[in-house]
């Protein structure tokens, strides 16, 4: 078949036309594509560039080093120690099971850790490092480092973790840190804290004590590093980093050596003790016994240890020195006496007859001395701790004035200290009873309150403050933080309380005789050495009601009662007599008599504080010197400065 090209003329022309149409359309489409690229790459370039940067750049937080805590003399009481941990990266490890087996042959690792590691390795991306175990001893780290070629994908890393060199001694004061919990963030004290650091899993925050109360200060602020990641989240490289600021260092007013001594002295009892420096209100020792090792919580406490702590009837977790509230017993008599003297309702020399009991509107209130003290004035009543005298004068002065005096002396109000659960106690008055109980105040309530029983409740801290204020006549506020990052905090020594100095002198003189006069209730616990003496007051507060039948048959001796029904033993004191330096309050829960149980402890603490170390033996009664020497040696061995928990163990 011939193909006469000329015949194609019409279609040829149409094809040319249509080719041009299609070509034009193609040019149009290409133009549209070009415009689209222009719009995206030039007009919206900045926006897309930003999105690309957001894609690739992740910001990671760099946790700052937590601030350190020191004692009065600069001894570290909360430090950060290097914590070695061993980690594994699956993609580098090759045969994970084989590698882990070699590791366990090399160093000792808990099998549960290996199990958890295997589980996590399965869940995570192959490049995510998984911690196998932490808190490795240095020898294990060395072993891992030497055997690196045989342990592909396994490395030892170092981080910081909190450690408390004094272990148990300061657990109730300093508290401890632990991983931030959902509760902390939702309802706890961190609920309005927006610090991004808290979003880091297992970030360590203060849980109790100073660690919790000064959390913001101690935490510091986060640094950041910008890293480039790929689509799977793998870190490709670090772009830049900005270091955070370390937490602030705190210096407490606590003398760790004294604290340690007191803690050791209280050992075996369920007790609390507080030592205040009268020059500035510094708390030199705030002790609660029994105690617990704060490091246990940082490392992760075992179920058994936790159960033991919770089931112990002596309640080791309770900070009894500030949190525990007890009827102050006879230590409250100074309050009643000062309220009456200031009000002018009594004369100091005026005597009251004590037959051994007082009847108030048909109710009989007993003096601790069944046969009574006979005619007795203020001085003798405090010295011998006569109860009837106070039954009498309290009815004259009235509860409201007693409550005012109590608050003036630091009872019944919450002292502002960075500690967990500082108790408010109770200095009851008529209004309090009306609002909380909806009942009228009765005279019997006043009579009970006059000797620190009934509604009156106070903590060892409050009793120490009371003693400090009586000893100085000034408004002493307890202070726990001496300095923050080297900046001294305001002193706790306030202005005069405005109590007549003569009245104060009378009460102090009585307190001197309590410990230094033969008939004083704490004479047997006096300081013998001539250059220093102490003044004090005993207290024995009942926790049970003594029925008329029991009284008739003879009150059961403390030793014959079950522990939890025995009396609390209390003692408050200050020393030396002229220019007093320290005030001490001691409570031994269910310890029996204040004079026999609490007073010797208070004396030993006072001597320890005054001599800043071992006091001369002649300060003690000769009968106990042997025991004291032995005790002192033991305690000294325990509190060798700088000694760590491990050394002492």
């Amino acid at each position: 078949m011939r193909r006469p090209i000329k015949d194609d003329g019409v279609l040829q022309a149409r094809m040319t036309r249509r080719a041009l149409v299609i070509g034009g359309a193609q040019l149009g489409i290409a133009g549209a594509l070009g415009l689209r690229m222009q719009s995206m790459q030039i007009e919206q370039a900045a926006q897309f560039r930003l999105l690309a940067e957001e894609n690739r750049i992740n910001i990671r937080l760099l946790p700052p080093a937590r601030g350190l805590i020191f004692d009065l003399n600069g001894r570290p009481i909360a430090e950060n120690e290097q914590n070695y941990r061993v980690i594994i990266v699956r993609e580098d490890a090759g045969d994970v099971a084989e590698t882990l087996k070699r590791l366990t042959d090399l160093i000792e690792i808990d099998p549960s850790n290996i199990e958890r590691t295997l589980e996590e390795l399965d869940k995570r991306s192959p490049f995510v490092p998984i911690t196998i175990a932490d808190r490795l001893p240095w020898e294990d780290v060395a072993k891992i480092n030497i055997n690196t070629p045989a342990l592909p994908g396994i490395t030892a890393e170092v981080g910081l973790s909190r450690v408390y060199p004094w272990g148990a001694d300061l657990a109730h004061v300093v508290g401890y840190v632990g991983p931030v919990s959902d509760y902390d963030l939702s309802q706890g004290y961190l609920s309005d804290d927006t610090d991004p650091l808290l979003q880091i899993p297992k970030f360590q925050v203060g849980k109790t004590g100073v660690e919790a109360k000064q959390e913001r200060m101690l935490r510091g602020s986060a640094g950041t590093k910008r890293i480039e990641v790929n689509a799977l989240g793998r870190v490709m490289r670090e772009l830049d980093r900005q270091e955070g600021t370390k937490g602030q260092d705190l210096q407490l007013t606590i003398d760790a050596r004294l604290q340690s001594y007191v803690q050791a002295r209280l050992d075996g009892q369920s007790a609390g003790a507080v030592v205040i420096d009268l020059e500035n209100g510094d708390l030199r020792a705030v002790c609660s016994a029994p105690t617990f090792d704060a490091n246990m919580f940082v490392r992760g406490i075992s179920v058994k240890d936790w159960t033991d702590l919770n089931e112990n009837k002596y309640r080791p977790l309770a900070a009894k020195a500030v949190q525990g509230i007890y009827p102050p017993g006879s230590t409250f008599k100074m309050v009643t006496a000062l309220a009456a003297l200031e009000d002018g309702v009594i004369d100091a020399e005026e005597t009251v007859y004590c037959p051994g009991h007082t009847d108030v509107f048909g109710t009989r209130f007993h003096c601790w001395k069944r046969v009574g003290h006979g005619n007795i004035n203020l001085h003798e009543s405090l010295k011998q701790s006569c109860d009837c005298y106070y039954y009498d004068i309290s009815q004259r002065v009235g509860i409201d004035k007693m409550a005012i005096m109590a608050r003036k002396l630091g009872l019944g109000l919450r002292h502002d200290l960075p500690l967990s659960a500082v108790a408010k106690g109770l200095a009851p008055d008529k209004e309090w009873k009306a609002t909380t109980r909806g009942e009228d105040w009765r005279v019997g309530d006043t009579v009970n309150a006059s000797i620190g029983q009934g509604y009156v409740l106070s903590s060892p801290l409050q009793l120490a403050v009371m003693t400090a204020r009586i000893a100085t006549g000034r408004e002493i506020t307890p202070r726990l933080i001496k300095s923050i990052d080297g900046i001294e905090q305001p002193s706790g020594l306030g202005p005069s309380l405005g109590i007549n100095e003569n009245n104060l002198r009378r009460v102090r003189q009585s307190m001197v005789d309590v410990t230094n006069h033969q008939r004083g209730t704490a004479y047997s616990a006096r300081i013998l050495a001539s250059e220093v003496k102490m003044a004090g007051k005993t207290g024995t507060s009942q926790v049970r009601r003594i029925t008329a039948e029991e009284r008739a048959a003879g009150v059961t001796r403390n030793e014959d009662l079950p522990w939890e029904r025995r009396d609390h033993a209390l003692f408050v004191n200050y020393a030396p007599l002229d220019n007093p330096r320290f005030a001490v309050a001691v409570i031994v829960e269910h310890g029996g008599g204040g004079s026999t149980t609490a007073a010797p402890i208070a004396r030993d603490i006072t001597l320890q504080a005054l001599y800043d170390g071992t006091p001369p033996l002649d300060a003690y009664p000769s009968a106990v010197r042997g025991r004291i020497q032995e005790q002192q040696d033991r305690i000294n061995a325990m509190i060798t400065p700088g000694a760590t928990v491990q050394d002492r163990a």
Partner: protein
Amino acid sequence: MSYLEYNTKYLPTGPRKLFFLNWPLILLLTAVAGVGFIMLYSVAGGSTSPWMEPQMERFGFGLGLLIVVAMVPIWFWRNMAVLAYLFSLALLLAVEFVGVERNGSQRWLDLGVMDLQPSELMKITLVMLLAAYYDWLPRDRTSHPLWVLFPVLLILLPTYMVLSQPDLGTSLLLVAGGGAMMFFAGVHWAYFATVVVAGVSTVFAVFKSRGASWQILQDYQYRRIDTFLDPANDPLGAGYHITQAKIALGSGGWTGRGFMQGTQSRLNFLPEKHTDFIFTTLAEEFGFIGAIGLLTIYMLIIFFCVISALTNRDRFASLLTLGVATTFFLFFALNMAMVTGLAPVVGVPLPLVSYGGSAMLVLMGAFGLVQSAHVHKPR
């Protein structure tokens, strides 16, 4: 059949044909392939493996194929058209039974040395067949309904087979390419108007059918359409690809982030970065200038093809050249529209740049046909 029937005054013979090749076109194709090599080197993180080296080998092979096809007289290819079409159809049928399945689609034949995608071959053989058909068809029957229906069936048969693989992108290219051939051939415009109206109705029906018992497309195809219409709707799921592609493209700016500095591709945010989405890497690393540069080279290839077709008085040669050019255009235009968010993600590679053997060889063969038409045009 002899070339004498073409009334040619002069035809080059033997090696002399080499001088009559459309050399600018070959240079442009090489330039495009070169861009491909550079991008494949870049997305491999600065390495010739695993993509750049095989791609260069294939291009070398493809170039050889192009020359060989070009040397063979164009009328031989015209006579081969029916056979080639049937061969492609047979391969498509084979895919149905012994094809290799990847990503939920059965498109490939395992030939041992390489995987062949018969649908790629069909794009060109369909163009060949239609060119031959209209060359054969008496001119006065071009717009006759019966003679219009026949090529429509020739187009729809392979389209249906490809669609069932399923491969929406290639089906669209087959229909569009075939339609263009009929348009070039001079079929009355009223047919095309009818098809456009029908097409619009079909789109309506497709959306209407969704969820109904007579649902026309697969669920994943609907999702792709959804994603195209609103990529932000599901940025980490189905819209992830297109969102990341747009970020890569847009972040290039005027001059790009620099060779091998594209963070989107280097950090694996880009999907299919060595195949369908390779253009976004180019746009990210070489910016607007690079992207427009490649678009320009592509358009120059189309330009040279159209010039060659319009200067060729042989109807088969002209139609074939225009058909190949149009198919090529649809290829890259659809790919670019896809990665710039102007078209749904239908899985069309960027011709000669994307990594892939079938497409490269088929396209080089197709340009061999264009060259053959050029060399053997009546002078």
